[in-house]
């Protein structure tokens, strides 16, 4: 019995190491376009690292049992281990600790971080309706392209007309989304920190992420993050019209 535990334990370590290595090497993410994106990807990675030993444990136990404890179904019984006493208690304690750790970090700490900074350099109003987006800039013009200056914190006031349906404002490169609720204003704060262009990168698009009927899939708007000078020129051009 002890030998089984030792081998399965080694298998656990190996699987965990493999899972950790895989997690460290992988880059499943779209373009990182904002401070909030770095933050979200970091939380994602942390959870992958924390999940690796759990995944490794189950795989080791499962694979070892399948390989070593087979029988032809001859009706011979296994040892009557009932699972009373210390093992379930230790298990409960371990899983509870893990759950509490994940709740606090990256969970609650991340939530607090996400809500901490309510300042902004620029404020725009976004309206979603079936099936398009419109951005209103403080200079008084409207645009069907979202153009933002790099390294400035932007506050988005998102809404939908009272007679419309739910939509959701999402830019994959920024990793944040919020529903556009008819007759209500919701907010997002985003600090884009890389230049980017929706013409070449699908992650730079406003995509409706709440099923809104016929052309839900087509409810997109290109996003461009530009330098401060380019932004000013663009605003001047738009406002001048």
């Amino acid at each position: 019995m002890n030998r089984h535990l030792w081998i399965a334990g080694i298998l656990w370590v190996v699987f965990t190491a493999l899972a950790l290595a895989g997690a460290a090497l992988m880059n499943p993410f779209p373009t990182v376009g904002a401070e909030e994106a770095e933050f979200s990807d970091h939380a994602f990675r942390m959870m992958t690292y924390m999940g690796a030993p759990v995944f490794g444990f189950v795989m080791a136990a499962l694979l070892y049992s399948v390989l070593r404890f087979r029988s032809g179904g001859g009706g011979e019984d296994g040892p009557p281990i009932r699972g009373v006493g210390a093992v379930p208690r230790v298990w409960l304690l371990t899983t509870t600790t893990l759950a509490v750790v994940v709740m606090i970090y990256p969970g609650l700490t991340g939530l607090a971080e996400l809500r901490s900074d309510r300042t902004h350099d620029l404020e725009v109003n976004v309206t979603g309706f079936r099936w398009a987006w419109v951005v209103q800039y403080p200079e008084g013009f409207a645009s069907q392209e979202l153009v933002l200056p790099v390294d400035q914190r932007v506050k988005f006031n998102v809404t939908a007309p009272a007679g419309d349906v739910l939509h959701s404002f999402w830019v994959p490169a920024f990793r944040l989304k919020i529903d556009a609720v008819p007759g209500q204003i919701t907010n997002l704060y985003i600090t884009p920190n890389e230049l980017g262009d929706g013409a070449t990168d699908a992650a730079y698009r406003v995509q409706c992420a709440e099923l809104c009927g016929l052309y839900h899939a087509r409810m997109q708007m290109p996003v461009r993050v530009v330098t401060a000078e380019e932004y000013e020129a663009w605003v001047a051009e738009k406002a001048g019209k």
Binding site: H4, F29, P30, F39, S40, F44, M47, V54, V58, M59, A61, L62, S65, V66, F69, R70, S71, G73, G74, D77, G78, P79, P80, I81, G83, V87, W91, T95, V102, M103, P106, G107, G110, L111, E113, L114, R115, G163, V165, L166, S168, W170, P172, R175, I178, D179, V181, P182, G183, Q184, T186, A202, R205, E210, L211, C212, G213, L214, Y215, H216
Partner: protein, 606 residues
């Protein structure tokens, strides 16, 4: 024949109901027909006609008027009309939902065909939305009802030593409410479909085309099926246990069915109420969800998820029970940490009711709700962890008999680990705000519901097939089904996590070209997954018709259902079985047999 009468009476009922409404409307100077209102009035009348026609009158209601209920026929005929035998009802549920499963699976194939390339190929956007919505509600219905409907009905009374369910008539009623649900969903497709998925979020569901009304009526009916079934299982398990069947000796599948039924009974009302409010908004002109008139769309999301999150545990708790059942018997070991598992099942029932708003982190609900729902959602991993402890502890050092049901049960452990771990990313607000409504979510819930419950379903199906049909299934076909399904499943849903993180959102008829490579791979894998069910269907049909006769106890298992013939005699047991020990006393020296059977009749059937 009874079905034909039911259909005719349903049509008569529909014409009568809509006719009376039309008469009233005409006298008020309105048009005779209003799709929304006419269906809302005609359907309940049609439903009553249907129930009368299929046998509700002949076998039950006639007694209310002093008549005498008819005696049900024997043989194959009884499966096609009202019948109160839990074994007949179990098979009716099983076959109906397997057919619905294959039908909804076929729409998934069409969806994968459409998504194989960027741009529109097979469907228009409108048709895609309807296909996606039908796939969603069809599979949710299958997932909610098949474990309890088929195996709960057939196996629970046998396992607890009862002659039938506590309320056989209610049981028949709840089954015969199912075909109208399927028929209404199909009619909804034929009159132009609906485009709100299975979630029916307003204001879209209030504003969209009339297929929505049929969807709502169908799903409210389905809620009734679930609630009636839930009450029946709760009552049966509390009151119909054989002498000596204490709560501590109940087979774990019965506990899973009990826990799932508690949730179905407590929470289904919420969904039905939400859908009813949408109907009222559409038909009567209330404004629960009309933002323009002061209603709140977010209110619906709360009402909806208050049911629909617990609903996943209606799907999965009986599945936990079935998997642990198969693992224990096919490892020939006592179920590991039995009492802890029971505690975990009941713990999940308790916590499941207070996690719903994790579906709403991006909905615009109040910020202060985020932290508590994050914490409560993470908490559910603790009881779920106990289920894993039990599964692993049970197979460890066992005598694993690698037959088809065992393969599916072991695959469940693998799939549910992936499903459970990826759930953490969605409970955690900072990652969920990106991942919400993407293919990451699609992959996650397919890992839990399909990789979890549906794999458990096939474990249960192969395990109990000999008992329910009296025939042995073909092991080779079973294993081919398993391996193609298992590999195909991983190849479909692992890349979906990736494409979701990359930025592909769900429920879209089309996507940017950047995601095309992933989608092509997923589609081809999807067709592979689809092929596995051809082997399944062939195995079921061939084995049921021409399979080898099954012995009473092909697995050498200890629980009661295996101590009677396959299929069991009409009243399950000759005489009264008495329970004298635990259900999983494998390898325990000098343990008494689980049950002492009532009379010598037992050996006669073996």
């Amino acid at each position: 024949m009874a079905i034909l009468v039911g259909l005719v009476l349903a049509v008569v009922g529909f014409v009568t109901g809509t006719g009376i409404l039309g008469g009233i409307r005409t006298s008020m100077g309105l048009e005779y027909w209003s799709t929304d209102m006419s269906w809302s009035v005609g359907y309940p009348v049609a439903l009553i006609g249907w129930l009368i026609g299929v046998g509700g009158w002949k076998y039950w209601a006639v007694e209310w008027f002093g008549g005498k209920a008819a005696t049900p026929p024997k043989g194959v005929k009884r499966y096609f009309e009202w019948n109160m035998d839990h074994k007949v009802i179990g098979i009716q549920y099983g076959v109906t939902f397997v057919v619905l499963f294959l039908l909804s699976g076929l729409t998934a194939m069409l969806i994968r065909f459409e998504l194989m390339n960027s741009g529109m190929q097979l469907f228009t956007e409108d048709q895609y939305n309807s296909a996606m919505s039908f796939h969603g509600i069809g599979m949710v219905a299958v997932a909610v009802a098949i474990m309890l409907g088929a195996f709960g009905n057939y196996i629970v009374p046998l396992q607890i030593g009862a002659r039938d369910m506590a309320f056989p008539r209610v049981n028949a009623l709840s089954y015969w409410l199912v075909p109208p649900v399927a028929i209404m969903l199909i009619i909804a497709l034929l009159i132009g479909g609906w485009d709100t998925g299975w979630t029916a979020y307003p204001p879209l569901s209030v504003l969209t085309k009339s297929g929505q009304v049929l969807f709502n009526l169908a799903v409210i009916t389905f809620g009734l099926v679930s609630i009636l079934g839930g009450i029946n299982f709760i009552a049966t398990i509390i009151y119909e246990r054989a002498p000596g069947m204490t709560w501590g000796r109940l087979p774990i599948f019965v506990w899973g069915a009990f826990a799932g039924s508690l949730i179905a009974f407590f929470f289904t009302q919420g969904f039905a109420a939400g859908l009813l409010m949408i109907l009222l908004d559409r038909v009567v002109g209330t404004s629960f969800f009309h933002a323009a008139e002061g209603g709140s769309p977010i209110l619906y999301e709360h009402v909806f998820w208050f049911y629909s999150h617990p609903a996943v545990y209606v799907m999965v708790l009986p599945a936990f029970g079935a998997v642990l059942e198969v693992l224990a018997h096919m490892s020939r070991k006592p179920l590991y940490a039995y009492r802890w598992v029971v505690g975990a099942l009941l713990g999940i029932v308790a916590i499941s009711g207070v996690v719903w708003a994790h579906h709403m982190f991006t909905s615009g609900m109040e910020d202060y709700l985020h932290a508590p729902f994050l914490v409560l959602t993470e908490m559910i991993s603790i009881p779920t962890g106990i289920i894993f402890l039990s599964a692993i502890g049970t197979i460890w050092a066992g005598r694993l008999w690698m037959r088809t049901p065992m393969l599916f049960a072991l695959a469940f452990i693998f799939n549910f680990t992936v499903g459970g771990l990826t759930g953490i990313y969605l409970a955690d607000v900072p990652t969920d705000i990106h991942l919400h409504d993407t293919y990451f979510v699609v992959a996650h819930f397919h890992y839990t519901i399909m990789g979890g419950e549906i794999f458990a379903l096939f474990a249960a199906l192969y395990y109990w097939f000999p008992k329910m049909t009296g025939r042995q299934f073909n092991e080779t076909l079973g294993k081919i089904h398993f391996w193609i399904m298992f590999i195909g499943f991983q190849l479909v849903f692992i890349p979906m996590f990736q494409v979701g993180v990359k930025g592909m959102n769900r429920r879209v008829a089309d996507y940017p070209e950047a995601y095309e490579d992933f989608n092509r791979f997923i589609s081809w894998s999807g067709f592979l997954l689809g092929i596995s069910f051809i082997f399944f269907a062939a195995n079921m049909v061939l084995s049921w018709v021409r399979g080898e006769r099954a012995v009473a106890n092909p697995w050498g298992a200890s629980t009661l259902e295996w101590q009677v013939s396959s299929p069991p005699p009409e009243h399950n047991f000759e005489g009264q079985p008495v329970i004298q020990g635990g259900a999983y006393e494998y390898g325990v020296p000098n343990a008494p047999a689980h049950a002492r059977m009532g009379t010598a009749a037992v050996t006669e059937h073996v």
